[in-house]
């Protein structure tokens, strides 16, 4: 079994790849950083001009372009830093406290 298929690093030495290498790319996607969050961004689509600043300035790659040209924040990864809300040129994003 590949190292990355087991989570939490619980793995026997015989299952390690050569030199502890991780042979599958991008597996951090399996680690949901969304639960670090104390506030989340909510976009007002009326105000949004679909400029994509929230997407390009997100340090957590949490924004995804949608088919209709908007950008959705992925709750699995968004840590709630608030950069998108501060940088939004039309103030379309509000940070809402998580319950």
């Amino acid at each position: 079994m590949k190292a990355s298929e087991k989570t939490g690093g619980i793995i026997g030495w015989k299952d390690l790849e050569l030199g502890c290498a991780l042979i599958e790319p991008g597996t951090s996607k399996g680690f949901k950083t969304g639960d670090w969050r104390s506030q989340r961004p909510v976009t007002d689509k009326e105000k949004c001009i679909r400029c994509g600043l929230c997407w390009i300035l997100c340090p957590d790659m949490a924004y995804r372009p949608t088919e209709d040209g908007f950008f959705d924040s992925d709750g699995n990864y968004c840590k709630g830093c608030g950069i998108c809300a501060r940088e939004c040129p039309t103030d379309a994003i509000a940070m809402i406290r998580e319950e």
Binding site: S4, T27, S28, G52, I56, L57, D60, M61, C81, I83
Partner: protein, 337 residues
């Protein structure tokens, strides 16, 4: 003239590059989400932008530091491109070896001959302090690689200790302000100038607030053959003591106040890439971060004067090239020989 030869080479290497367009930026993420960076980390954002500009045909050598720790916690990796971590002080040496290996294997027909960008990406400690020898060696030897310094101005990974890139007056855990100290007692080491002194073809400063400028410089650095150095301002809300949503604003203010001017140096030719007509006072930048909270009026004024002088110097450096070219023309004209 050798200077003219270099300019012709540069034009040839950049001839197909038109610059990134705000609405057509690469969608692909080469650093995956799920990484463990702090909230609002400006450094991981800079790294994400660097990788967007480079694309998939890239190999990354990364020394020990924040970005290494947050992107490769076993059994997961955030990397979508080949990546290697060896130690703290040797990213440039590891990248040298990768470049040499690829070159030999391609020349001997053992792997397909194609352009693969080799990139070493380190923090300010790994660059300006412990890694500076390996970096100088790699520049001098002329490897075709890009060295990226993600400068968050202290050893953040170990808990905010000062480095030679920490700015004057800043509070860190090893440059604490006190009765006999203003905080960091030394001025920030000028790494881009050190890179320029190696006569490498491309050196530039970048900031994530100016992301198109940043990505264009990364792409140019990669396309131009030979060593390139990028010094990227990387706000760290955790270590700079500012709210997590301020990273971009702090980065913008650093540019607008002249604390961190954006320029490039192509074959020795300086060019300011983001001009600031009316610079804001440095205080506007300093007051956004609690690491500068203790600064007295006269220290702030010193920082202002130093910033102003640096800008004058940079403007002079920009003008120097045409003066130099004329002098070269004159020196090589038949009348002089």
């Amino acid at each position: 003239m050798i200077a003219e030869e270099l300019m012709a080479k540069e034009l040839e290497e950049l001839k197909d590059f038109r610059g990134f367009k705000p609405r057509e930026l690469p969608r692909e993420e080469l650093v995956s989400p799920g990484h463990r960076a702090c909230l609002g980390c400006g450094e991981v954002l800079a790294m994400r932008l660097v990788m967007k500009a480079l694309g998939r045909d890239t190999i990354v050598a990364m020394p020990t530091g924040c970005m290494e720790i947050i992107s490769s916690s076993f059994p997961q990796t955030a990397w979508e491109v080949p990546w290697i971590h060896v130690a703290f002080e040797n990213a440039a040496a590891v990248a040298s070896g990768i470049e040499a290996g690829l070159k030999a294997l391609m020349r001997k027909g053992k792997i397909k001959d194609r352009r693969i960008f080799v990139v070493a990406m380190a923090g300010d400690g790994g660059t300006a302090d412990i890694g500076v020898q390996a970096l100088s060696g790699a520049f001098e030897r002329g490897h075709d690689f890009v060295y990226v310094c993600l400068d968050n101005e202290a050893y953040m990974n170990t808990g905010i200790q000062r480095s030679s890139a920490t700015p004057y007056g800043a509070m860190t855990t090893t440059s604490p302000p006190g009765k006999r100290s203003i905080g960091q007692m030394t001025w920030k080491k000028d790494m881009p100038a050190i890179a320029v002194a190696h006569n490498i073809p491309y050196v530039a400063t970048c900031a994530p607030s100016h992301y198109i400028d940043l990505m264009n410089k990364v792409r140019k650095a990669a396309l131009i053959k030979g060593p390139a150095y990028l010094h990227i301002f990387s706000p760290c809300p955790t270590g700079w003591r500012c709210p997590s949503d301020m990273s971009i604003e702090v980065s913008r203010l650093a540019v607008q106040t002249g604390i961190f001017p954006l320029y490039e140096v192509v074959n020795g030719r300086y060019k300011i890439t983001v001009r600031v007509d009316r610079r804001k006072p440095v205080e506007e930048y300093l007051k956004t971060q609690r690491r500068f909270r203790h600064l007295t009026r006269d220290v702030i004024e010193r920082i202002q004067r130093r910033g102003d002088e640096n800008m004058v110097k940079l403007e002079c450096q920009e003008k120097f090239h045409s003066y130099y070219m004329n002098a070269l023309q004159y020196a090589s004209s038949p009348a002089q020989s």
